[in-house]
């Protein structure tokens, strides 16, 4: 018999115990069989009863014997090692029907995948946190109780301040006029007219630029009920492209602590479109590429490029 301490399960005692279980099962079956068969045919009633009782007693004693043997063996079998690494999920692997229910292998794959995902998400968040890209007021991370309630005040600016900032920026550029409307509550909607080239509608959320749409100078900016139409696209592909670039620009110019600097940079960038049709592309030297003028303006140098020519 192997040493119980070294080997978690005593294999020989295990097999003997299995045999003992089989013996016990068969003796229990004998008991119920004899009960089912009832009394055997003998000459007298007493003889029949005696034979029946003797048989019954024999069967019960054999059951008792087998049970004792099983108990003795079970103490020898020992417990499986406590340091079982698989715990409850490992039990799934013990009775597999691999073709129809490949549960355990699927479980392992799911765990591996979720661990990898967690790892990559950790890497991504550490990289993204290097650049502060937040456009909302929600504080991430620790609960509000531990951290003092610091809501960025730039999201709840008084409307008068917003009006002042916008009018100051409007005066900065002589060829650009900015009109401020408030058709829906406190959010400002600006109508920027740039020379005789384009009209841009800029929807703001306090001093943050939310959305912009650019149309030609001669296109209609008002909808049928007289309000500013902030949704329909321009009829011309050139201005549709400029709208896309303006949306990229408002995502590029970001500084949550100083939104008026952001608005000023955006307006400076937009102003470079005053020569939309006059400037050739800096890269290819031509005016037209697939029928479009150079619609891209570099964010730092404000040079004109075709959308397909930009680096």
């Amino acid at each position: 018999m192997a040493d119980v301490m070294n080997v978690g399960v005593n294999l020989e005692a295990f097999s003997q115990a299995i045999n003992a279980i089989q013996a016990l099962r068969s003796s229990v079956t004998r008991v119920f069989d004899s009960l089912k068969d009832g009394m055997k045919n003998k000459e007298t009633l007493e003889g029949r009863e005696k034979a029946f009782i003797t048989e019954f007693q024999d069967n019960l004693q054999s059951v008792n014997r087998d049970l004792n043997e099983l108990e003795r063996l079970s103490t020898l079998v020992g417990r499986p090692s406590e340091s079982h690494p698989l715990h409850n999920s490992g039990l799934l692997s013990l009775d597999p029907v691999q073709d129809k229910t490949p549960l355990y292998s699927q479980l392992l794959q799911a765990y591996k995948w979720s661990n990898k995902l967690q790892y990559h998400a950790g890497l991504a968040s550490s990289l993204l946190n290097q650049q502060s890209l937040k456009r909302s007021a929600n504080q991430m991370g620790t609960s509000a109780k531990r951290r003092p309630k610091v809501q960025p005040s730039t999201l709840a600016l008084p409307t008068q301040y917003v009006d002042d900032v916008i009018s100051r920026i409007g005066r900065m550029f002589p060829d650009m006029s900015i009109e401020l409307f408030r058709p829906n509550g406190t959010s400002a909607v600006l109508l920027v007219t740039l020379g005789k080239v384009l009209k841009a509608i800029v929807v703001m959320r306090s001093l943050f630029i939310d959305r912009t749409i650019v149309r030609g100078y001669h296109e209609n900016v008002y909808s049928e009920d007289g309000k500013l139409d902030i949704w329909s696209k321009s009829n011309y592909q050139a201005f549709q492209k400029v709208t896309d670039h303006a949306t990229t620009a408002l995502l590029h110019y970001q500084l949550p602590q100083m939104p008026d600097v952001v608005v000023r940079s955006f307006m400076t960038w937009l102003r470079s479109y005053i020569k939309l049709f006059q400037t050739p592309c800096q890269r290819c030297g031509k005016y037209l590429q697939e029928g479009l003028p150079p619609t891209w303006r570099d964010f730092r140098t404000l040079e004109a490029f075709h959308d397909t020519c930009r680096q």
């Binding site: 005789k196 030609g216 001669h218 011309y236 592909q237 939309l276 049709f277 003028p293």
Partner: protein, 212 residues
């Protein structure tokens, strides 16, 4: 409603009017333009009657354009013009005593209309009393309304399919009192067509140029 430039393309050597027009269509389709229907521009001439002696009677031109089908434009050569609705023709009939229609002088240009990105190109055969006299090409850049801004851009586009027949900046823009940087209106287009029709009238009849 954008900046338009109307020019005349000479008929290619040894080819008929229709063949030159087909060549232009092919070039445009190679560029990637899409056909978008037909267009027509016509011009009727009226003599002003009852003039003081010795002075040549002023000619009034009444023009129509399929781009603005509900309008009529009336202009004097090099002089003022007006835009009215389609009933203006009926009014001219009523003014028979002052303006007489010179029936044989009606000129019109008919052809196909192509769209390429923000450009509209119209290639038409200029015909006077059912005989083809020449080819007119109108290029409109719809996105811009200031001729001074987009002239270079339009020239580059016209060079890509007209080659050497690319015109210079139309005189109607340079002659404007306010300069090149004022917005265009439909009268500018009509004046250019009028100029072209005038040139075509003075030309000789092209040999073998019956409209097919």
């Amino acid at each position: 409603m954008g900046v338009t430039c109307v020019c005349q393309v000479p008929v290619a050597e040894g080819k008929s009017v229709q063949q030159t027009v087909d060549m232009l269509h092919k070039k445009l389709e190679q560029l990637g333009a899409i056909k978008q229907g037909n267009f027509w521009v016509d011009c009727e001439t009226y003599h002003a009657t009852g003039n003081a002696t010795g002075q040549p009677s002023k000619l009034l031109y009444v023009m129509h354009n399929s781009e603005t089908p509900l309008s009529s434009m009336a202009l004097f050569e090099g002089g003022p013009g007006l835009t009215a609705d389609a009933n203006f023709d009926v009014l001219m009939v009523k003014l028979k005593s002052h303006f007489q229609n010179a029936k044989g002088h009606k000129v019109e240009s008919r052809g196909t209309r192509y769209r390429y990105c923000d450009f509209l190109v119209k290639i038409g055969t200029v015909a006077m009393s059912s005989s083809a006299r020449g080819i007119s090409v109108e290029v409109e850049y719809c996105a811009c309304v200031i001729p001074g801004d987009c002239w270079n851009l339009m020239k580059e586009f016209m060079q890509s399919f007209l080659g050497s027949s690319t015109p210079e900046l139309p005189a109607v823009f340079t002659n404007k009192a306010e300069g090149l940087y004022t917005p265009v209106d439909c009268m500018d287009t009509m004046s250019q067509y009028l100029e072209l029709f005038g040139k075509v009238r003075k030309q000789q009849v092209l040999p073998g140029s019956g409209v097919r």
